[in-house]
C-alpha cells in the first residue's frame, strides 16, 4: 500500500480515515482545540449580529507564488466576513481530495491554511474530509465556512450607497490572477509577481471603527476583478459609477503581464484588495486609515457614485483622456493568441 498518497479508503470513514485525521490533519489544524472530536464545534459569542458565509475553492495549480489553495480558502472566507462588516470568529475547513494526491501536498496546504488562520487570529474549529476518484476533481477542493461578529455601528449594503459617495480601492489590481496564470501549465513565464492573497479584516475593522455608518458598502474584488464589483454595484444601486484610470494603483509587473496576455487588469482576480464606498466628506479620512495599514499602503480614491439611471453604466476616463465603459466580464478571459 502506498502510504505517500491519498487513497479512496482515506475517505471511507474507517481505519484509514481515522489515521489520516489523527496523523496528518489534526497535528496541523487541531492543535488549537485539543480534546475529543465531536460532531460539531460549540462557540460562545456575545450578543449582537452574526455574519455567516461559505465558499469553495478550486485553483490550478494548487500552489502559486504568494500562496496556495489552503491560504486562499482561509483568507477568502475571512474576507467575505470582513466586507460584511464582521470580525471573523471561527472557520470550518472541508476537503475533497483526489485519489492519488501526494500526502506531502496535503500537509503543505494544511500547514499554510493553519498559518493563515493563526496570523488572522481565527480558529479552524470543524471540518470534514472526503476522497473522490481520479475523475472527481483535480488535486483537491477546499471548502471553508466562517462565522463572524458584525461590528457595532456597521450599516453596509447597496441600499446605503448615495450619489456623490467616493469609491476607494486599497491597492494595485491583478496580482493574484496573473501570478496564478504565470505558473499555469503551458503558459509559464517568469515574473516576480506574487498573489496578493491576504486577510482584510483588520483593514475593514479599522475603517468601521473610525467611520461607522459612513462606510456604505464594501466588497473584495475577487473573480471578475474590479470590473465585476463595480458593474454589480452600479446595477444594484441603479446609478452610474464614474472612475478615473489614472487614480487606480498599478503594479507595473502586473500591468506588463496583463498586456502580454491581452487581459484587462480591471477584470483580473484579486484576493487581498478592498473596494469601499464611503460618504464623500469622510473619504479623505478613509483614505488615511487605509494607507496607514500595510495592506492599504497604495490605497486611492478611484471614483464616485453618479446619478440614477435606467441602464446604469460604469464609465472610466482613461489615462489618455478617452472614455470607455467597464462591464461585468463574460467569464474567464482567455489569453490572446496573437
Amino acid at each position: 500500500m502506498n502510504r505517500e498518497r491519498i487513497q479512496l479508503a482515506h475517505g471511507g470513514g474507517g481505519q484509514l480515515s481515522a489515521e489520516l485525521i489523527a496523523e496528518v490533519i489534526l497535528p496541523i489544524l487541531g492543535s488549537q482545540r485539543p480534546g475529543r472530536l465531536t460532531d460539531a464545534a460549540c462557540l460562545s459569542v456575545d450578543a449582537g449580529r452574526l455574519a455567516f458565509t461559505t465558499d469553495s475553492y478550486v485553483v490550478q495549480p494548487l500552489e502559486f507564488p504568494g500562496g496556495d489553495i489552503g491560504k486562499l480558502a482561509v483568507c477568502g472566507t475571512i474576507n467575505d466576513l470582513a466586507v460584511a462588516g464582521a470580525q471573523p470568529r471561527a472557520l470550518s475547513l472541508s476537503l475533497v481530495l483526489q485519489e492519488g494526491l501526494a500526502i506531502s501536498t496535503l500537509r503543505k496546504v494544511l500547514t499554510s491554511a493553519a498559518g493563515a488562520a493563526r496570523d488572522a487570529g481565527v480558529e479552524i474549529v470543524t471540518g470534514d474530509t472526503k476522497v473522490v476518484g481520479r475523475e472527481g476533481c483535480d488535486g483537491m477542493i477546499v471548502n471553508t465556512a466562517g462565522v463572524g461578529v458584525v461590528a457595532e455601528g456597521a450599516e453596509l449594503g447597496f441600499e446605503r450607497v448615495e450619489q456623490g459617495d467616493c469609491i476607494l480601492l486599497s491597492g494595485a489590481l491583478g496580482e493574484h490572477g496573473l501570478s496564478v496564470v504565470s505558473c499555469r501549465k503551458g503558459l509559464s513565464f517568469a515574473t516576480d509577481l506574487r498573489s496578493d492573497c491576504a486577510a482584510l479584516h483588520e483593514l475593514t475593522g479599522s475603517l468601521l471603527a473610525s467611520l461607522g455608518g459612513n462606510v456604505h458598502f464594501m466588497r473584495d474584488p475577487t473573480r471578475g476583478g474590479l470590473a465585476a464589483t463595480l458593474a454589480e454595484l452600479a446595477a444594484a444601486i441603479g446609478r452610474d459609477v464614474e472612475i478615473q484610470e489614472e487614480a487606480i494603483p498599478v503594479n507595473p509587473v502586473a500591468r506588463s503581464a496583463a498586456e502580454m496576455l491581452g487581459l484587462d487588469l480591471l477584470t483580473v482576480a484579486n484576493e487581498g484588495k478592498l473596494v469601499a464606498v464611503v460618504a464623500a466628506r469622510q473619504a479623505p479620512r478613509a483614505l488615511e486609515i487605509l494607507r496607514s495599514h500595510r495592506l492599504g499602503a497604495k490605497a486611492a480614491i478611484i471614483g464616485t457614485v453618479g446619478e440614477a439611471a435606467s441602464g446604469p453604466l460604469v464609465e472610466m476616463q482613461t489615462v489618455v483622456g478617452g472614455r470607455r465603459i467597464v462591464q461585468m466580464p463574460y467569464g474567464e478571459e482567455l489569453p490572446r493568441i496573437c
Binding site: 491581452g262 439611471a309 453604466l313 464609465e315 472614455r323
Partner: protein, 363 residues
C-alpha cells in the same frame, strides 16, 4: 504616458484641421490587428479623437477571419473520431458553427483541449501516443512560425500521432483585397505591430504604390497608436502616402529567420476569409514534404459550404462597411455570452471590443 499622448493629440488636431479645410475629413483608418482593436476600445481612443477620425476594425483577429467551413471540419473530426484529440487556441473553442461550437462538441464527449502554443500540442502528442492529436493552426504570420517549429519537432521525434489542420493567413493579400473594387472604405491602414515584426514594414510599399494609401505600423500602447494616427494624418494632409513604421521593433525587412522558417514550412495558397471570401495566395498551406502532418490529408474530411449565420454582418464589419452597432444582431441576439458571429467571440473581435468597452448609453 500622458505627455507623449498630448503631443500626438496636438499634432493630430493640427493635421485634422488641415484635412477638414481640404474636405478630406473624416478620415477612415482601418486597423488590421486584434490587439489594436482591443487597445483602441479599452483606451477610449474613438471618444478621444471624436468625429474627425473613424477607426474601422478590419480582418486582424485570427478567430474572426477563420472561415466557418474550417470550423465545421474541425467539429466533424472531433465528433466522428473518438481517437482524436483536438488542440486549439482558447477563443476558437467558443465560435458557433452550423453544428454548434467546439465547446459544445466537448460537452458531448469530444476531446478538445485548449493550448497556448503549437508546442503544447506537440507535448500532448508525445504524452498520449495512443491518440491522434490535431492542432488547429490558425493565426497570421505571428503564430505561423510557432506552428512551423512544432512541425519540425514532430518530424524530429518521428511523431506519427500529430498533425495540423491549417488555416494560417497572410495579412498583406487581405489588405490588398480591401483596396480593390468600387466600394473601398479605407483611407489608410494602421498596420499591425506583431505581424510587421515578422514581415517588415517594406511589404506595405506595394499597397502605397498601387493604391496611394498610407500604411503605418504602430505599437500597442495608446500613445503608440496615437503616434501612428498622427503619422497617417500628416501623410494625408501633405498628400504623400508612404509605408512607414513608428514602432521601433519593426524593421523594413522584418525577421529574416522567421521568414525563412515560414518559407521552409508553408506555401502561399488561396484561402477563404470570413466576410471577404476567397483571396488569392492569402493562406499558408503545408509544403508537400510535410504532407504527412496535414490533418486534411490524414483524415477524411467532408467539404462544407462557407455559410455565415443569417443576418450576421461580421463580413461587412471586417471590410469596414458597417460598425458593429449597425448589425441588427449586435447586443440583441449576439453578445459575448451568446455570440452569433465570430467577431463577438474573440476578445479581440471588433464586435466584442465595441460591446465590452464602447456600449455607451445613447444620449
Amino acid at each position: 504616458m500622458k505627455d507623449p499622448c498630448d503631443r500626438h493629440l496636438r499634432e493630430i488636431r493640427r493635421h485634422l484641421d488641415a484635412l477638414k479645410s481640404l474636405g478630406s475629413a473624416p478620415v477612415r483608418i482601418m486597423e488590421v490587428c486584434g490587439t489594436h482593436t482591443m487597445v483602441l476600445a479599452r483606451a477610449g481612443l474613438r471618444s478621444l479623437l471624436g468625429e474627425g477620425v473613424r477607426f474601422l476594425s478590419g480582418p486582424g483577429c485570427p478567430v474572426c477571419v477563420t472561415d466557418g467551413a474550417y470550423l465545421e471540419r474541425a467539429i466533424h473530426l472531433s465528433r466522428t473520431r473518438p481517437d482524436i484529440t483536438l488542440a486549439s487556441y482558447g477563443d476558437m473553442v467558443r465560435v458557433p458553427g452550423q453544428s454548434g461550437s467546439l465547446a459544445d462538441a466537448r460537452c458531448a464527449g469530444a476531446d478538445v483541449r485548449v493550448v497556448y502554443s503549437a508546442g503544447q500540442a506537440v507535448e500532448i502528442a508525445l504524452a498520449c501516443r495512443d491518440r491522434q492529436v490535431v492542432f488547429l493552426a490558425v493565426g497570421f504570420e505571428t503564430t505561423a512560425p510557432g506552428t512551423a517549429l512544432a512541425l519540425r519537432r514532430a518530424q524530429r521525434e518521428g511523431l506519427e500521432n500529430f498533425s495540423v489542420l491549417t488555416a494560417h493567413k497572410r495579412i498583406l493579400p487581405a489588405m490588398r483585397a480591401l483596396l480593390v473594387g468600387d466600394d473601398v472604405r479605407v483611407d489608410a491602414f494602421l498596420c499591425p505591430g506583431h505581424v510587421s515584426v515578422i514581415v517588415g514594414w517594406g511589404v506595405y510599399r506595394e499597397l502605397v504604390d498601387r493604391f496611394a494609401r498610407p500604411c503605418v505600423v504602430a505599437g500597442f500602447e495608446p500613445s503608440q497608436i496615437l503616434a501612428g494616427v498622427a503619422e497617417i494624418l500628416r501623410q494625408l494632409a501633405e498628400k504623400q502616402p508612404q509605408a512607414a513604421s513608428v514602432y521601433p521593433p519593426v524593421s523594413r525587412e522584418g525577421n529574416r529567420v522567421a521568414q525563412a522558417i515560414l518559407e521552409e514550412t508553408f506555401v502561399p495558397a488561396d484561402a477563404v476569409w470570413r466576410g471577404l471570401g476567397e483571396i488569392p495566395e492569402s493562406g499558408l498551406d503545408l509544403r508537400e514534404e510535410l504532407a504527412a502532418f496535414d490533418a486534411a490529408r490524414r483524415f477524411e474530411l467532408p467539404d462544407y459550404p462557407t455559410q455565415d449565420p443569417p443576418d450576421c454582418r461580421c463580413g461587412d464589419v471586417l471590410c469596414g462597411r458597417c460598425d458593429p452597432a449597425e448589425c441588427p444582431l449586435f447586443s440583441r441576439r449576439c453578445t459575448p455570452r451568446d455570440p452569433v458571429g465570430a467577431c463577438m467571440v474573440s476578445s479581440e473581435g471588433a464586435c466584442a471590443a465595441a460591446y465590452q468597452y464602447e456600449r455607451f448609453r445613447k444620449r
